[in-house]
Amino acid sequence: MNEVTKNWVRKFALDYPCELTSVREAGRQSREELHAAGLAEQELDHWELVLAEAGNNAVYYALEGQKHKPVRFEFYVDDQWVEARIRDQGPGFEMPEEVELPEPDSEHGRGLFLIKTLTDEAAYWRGKGENWLVLRKRRPERETPASEASGPPASAADAALTEQLAQSESTLELMTEELASAYESLSTIFRYSAELAEQPQPEEFARKWLVEVCKIGAADWFVLRLVNENEALKLVVSSVDLTGREVLDMENAGEADVSLEIRAASLRMDVWFDGTLQRVAAVDPLVSVTGQGTGFAHPIVINDRLVGVLSVGRYLADKPFQAGQVSIIQTFGDFLGIQIRNAHFQKQQVQTQLTARDLKIAADIQRSLLPKTLPVLPGYQLVGHYQSARQVGGDFYDAFETPGGKVLMAIADVMGKGVSAAMFAAIFRSQLRAEAERERSPAALLTMLNRALFADLDQVEMFITAQLVLFNPQDRSIVISAAGHPPMLLAGNDGRSQEVEQSGLPLGVLGDSVYTERTVLLPAGGNLLLFTDGLTEARDPEGQLLWLSPLEKCLSQGAKAGRGAEETKAALIAIVEAHEQGIPAGDDQTFLLLAERRTGAKNLNPPKQA
C-alpha cells in the first residue's frame, strides 16, 4: 500500500478498552464519525461490520499483559477512499492473499473473510509489541456539488490542531513503516537461514542473500570475498549489474596491490570510498566498479577471525548511505559470514566423518581378507606379514592347500585406496579361492581372474598386480605366474639368491590377457619370498627407497644360517624399519615367506643331495 500525501476530508482516531463490548461500541462510534464524513448507508454498514470483525480479532488475540492497552482505530477519509487502521497487541498473523470460507458447519473463521470481502485492500504490518491492520475501501462514485465537498472554512485554532495532528500522524506512519521493514528484514533472515541448510552452493546462497540485503539497504552493487585456506581474500560472489554482467571480473579481480578491501581487512574497520579515490587507487578493482559512486568495504570478523570482506555501493555519489542502512548491511554481512563459516565447518566435519568411516570399513575388510591360519607343511614354515599404511590400501596375501597336496600362495596389490580397493581385494580373494578348488595352473587362474574382473576394474580405472605361486613340497617345484607384480625372491642355504620374474600385464588392463607361467625349484634349505612394492619402496627420511638388495641379502643370510621363518620375518621387518627411521609408510607393506624347516643337523637337511 503506497502512502501518498493527501488532503483528507476527515481524519479521526478512537481508543477503546480491549474487550468485546467496547470494540463493538467503537464500531458504532466510528459509524457516526464516518456518517459525518459523508459516507453512504451501504458503506457505513460494511465499515461497521469490518470494524467489528477487526476489533474482535484484536481482542481475541491480544497477548496477556497487553490487554490494558487500548485498541486503536484510526480513519482517513477523502472523496475516493476510506482507510481504517486498527492496532492490536497480539502476536500477529500472516495476512493471506486469499481467504476462503470455512466449511458450512464451522462456527469460526468467517471474520477475516468478511474483512477481505468488504474492503478493497487489506494489509497487516507487524511490529514489535503491536501490529496494524490497514484496510482501504474505495468509495462509490457519486455526484457531489463542489461547494459541499470543500466544507465550512476552518478556524485558526482548528488549523493549528489539524497541523499538529498531521505531524503526529506522519511520525506514526514513519514508525509503522520502520516496524514493517524490521519485520521484513527478520523474515528474510529466517527464510534464508532455513535455505542454507539445503543449499549446497554457498556462492549461490550468498548471491541470493546479498541481493536481498542490497534491496533493504538500497545499494546498487555488492562484492563479497571470503578468506580461503591460503589466508587470501578469494572473490566468492559479486552482484550482477543492470547489463547482466558481474560487476567484478571473476578471473582478474584479485590482483590489485592497493585494495580498499585489503585495507578494510587489515584495519578491521569499515573503509569508505567515493569518487575522489579514483586518483589514489586506480588499480583497485572496487574503483572500477564504483566509479564516481559511494560505498564502503566492511570486514566480516567473527570471534576475532577475519572471514571475509563485503563491499557495497551506489553508483551515484550524491546519495550517501544512511546510518540505518549501513547498520542493516553490516549486520546482514556478519550474519552471512557466520552462516557460511558454519556451513563450511559442517561440510568439513561430514567429510572427515565420511573419510574416517570409509577407512574403518576398508580396514575391516582388509583384516577379514588375511588368512587366519596358514597351511602347515611338513618340513616347511609359512608366515605372512601385513602392515597397513595410514590410508588403507589394497594389499593382501593368501595361502591355502589345493588338490594334490600342493600349496597355492597369492599376493596382490590393488591400485587404489579405501573401500573400493578393499572391495576388489575381497572379490579377487573369493574368486581365487573358488577357482583354485579345481586343479588349475597359476597362469590359468590369472587369465580367468582377469577376465572376470576386467569390466569392473576398467570402469573405475583401477588395476591389480598379483602373483600366484604353486608350491609342490613333493618335488620342490614352484610354478609362478604374475600380473605386473614385482619378482619373487629365492635364496638357498648356499648363500645364493635369485629374483624370479614372470612378465604379464596387471589385471584390469586388457580384457583378453593370457598369462604365462614357468617352473623353478626351491633351492636346498631355501627361503621363498613374495612381497608387494610397499616393501621395496619403503622410504628413509631423505626419500631414498629401500630397493631389493637388502631384502635379498637378509633372505640368503637367513637361509645360510638356517634361521626359521619367524626369525627371518623379524629380520626383514627390522631392515624396513631401520630404513624408514620412524617415517610412516606411504603404502601397505606385505610379504609371504616360506622357509624350509631345519630339522636337527645341517647335513640331514638337503633332500636334493639325497
Binding site: D45, L49, A52, P104, E107, R110, F113
Partner: protein, 100 residues
Amino acid sequence: MKIQHQGTTLLVGGLTELNAANALGFRDAVRGALTPQTTHLDVDLSETKFLDSSGLGALIALHKTVVANHAVLRILHPTPTAQQILELTRLHRVFEIVKT
C-alpha cells in the same frame, strides 16, 4: 431477546444485534430453552440491524444442536443487512430462511 414456546416451536426474537459480545449468551439461552419436544427453532432476525461472524457462529452452533435432535432451524424475516451477511458467507444455503 424474547424466547417463546408455541407448541413444539421455539420462537426467538427481539434481537437488535447478534455480535461477538452477545453471541455466546444468545446461544446458551436458546439451547437452555430447547426441549426434546421442540420440532422447530425459529430465529426472528427482523429487528437485527447488526450481525457479525460471531453471531453467525452462534446460529451455526444452534443449527447443529437442533439437527442432532431431528428438529429444524428457521430464520425468519432477516433484515437486508442480515440477509446480505448470510448470502455473503453462503449460509443462506445452510439455513432455511423465511422471508417476509
